[in-house]
Symmetry: C2
Amino acid sequence: MADTTETEPMDMMPEPLRARERAERIHADIRSRICMLDYPPGMKLSETALAAELGISRTPIRRVLARLEDEGLVTSVHGVGTMVTNVDYSEMSQVYRLRKELVLLQTVLDPIQPDAAFLQRFQALYTRSEALKTAPSARDFSLLDQDTFLTLLDLTANAPLRTMAERLYFRTARIWLQQVTSSHIDLMQEIDIYARELQDLLGALELGDLDAVGHIRRGHISMSFARMRV
Amino acid sequence: MADTTETEPMDMMPEPLRARERAERIHADIRSRICMLDYPPGMKLSETALAAELGISRTPIRRVLARLEDEGLVTSVHGVGTMVTNVDYSEMSQVYRLRKELVLLQTVLDPIQPDAAFLQRFQALYTRSEALKTAPSARDFSLLDQDTFLTLLDLTANAPLRTMAERLYFRTARIWLQQVTSSHIDLMQEIDIYARELQDLLGALELGDLDAVGHIRRGHISMSFARMRV
DNA sequence: CCCTCAACTGATGTATACAACATTAGGCGA
DNA sequence: TCGCCTAATGTTGTATACATCAGTTGAGGG
């Protein structure tokens, strides 16, 4: 009698959030394309085109775009289109000043002491930064910076702080890539500086000195911003 | 030939964001109902019912609910419904600890010196707090606290900080009202303390001492949280 | 040649029917 | 009477047709 229907009541993880998960992937995907300048500022993101590309209808696409608009990465105007936002200096300045403060809170509010696995993950990041010296790539650099940020986010258990820091990071992550592309800053120099930063952070992490981690990051965020304003 | 169509090209404010504005109002409205416990935790918010109540379709309602879900005020489950979230102690604790830090940043990062009009607005808030002593009302108290928060938000020009502080505030604003309703804290005592806080803040504002404003608020947030954990 | 305006095009916003899903009530048999 | 299975119901998620809006283009008149 069990042949007629295959209900499979025993499933390790039924994952009733299949739809939610898909939306999450699409969101992260479009966000990544914006931050990697695959979708440059001003570009129109057609809901119809995205829907066709992903093989779904406009409805779930619109939900993702609405979230991206909340996050300040796109703006939708009725009758015109959905355009990737540009980042002006004033806004960028405000975000950076706030990030400089939040990065300190990340190691003060609900700090999580790094374990061996974490140190290994971070060591891999440092290795990548050294590899960039022999094979410079602005895109790979941006990806490394993104992975580093997300890794260091695991040092705090404060969920609201994590989400806010993440929103702020992706809000201005593309600025650096823009500056490199337009040759306003030197790629090789940035790679050298970044490798040193990761080395410094690795040393502080091995000592378990999270306070030092926060201040090292703060200093680098500040200097990185200072080098950009050409 | 102009009789057939009434285009009215001359309008003071064409307001092309009529739809956007409506969504904003609906969002603020539902958010207020949740924070005022008109929609208590666990209550199911039917999209169909809300759409019928507002005389529109489910589509714009769903957009608002999706945003509220991003803000942590509701959770939607496929096939079940959209329920008002509950706030557990751990989450509340994390939010309060973060708010204590952000309230300091609000008067440090991009401070705006209060002008005469601002002082007058704040004076009105203090008057309301004194009026509450003769006519105590938990609901009016919550509304006053909300207005006070939004007013003090104008002391910083940092847009990202403003949006984040606002999100955090509304995330846990209903906790206090819950505690009063369940008689875990004394309403009259809270009103007295709050009136004193507004008096202290008014004095600091009149002196233009924004640093004092931040620290006074920080202390009151901390003590308010301490009084709540029964 | 230039200005005006009206229709066209393509975009987002909305309404609605349908699909997928979870819960519940009820019937049927052991 | 108890347990299981099935159908019904109500929910959110999706697809799609339509409404609304803004930019564009081209024809017509001065």
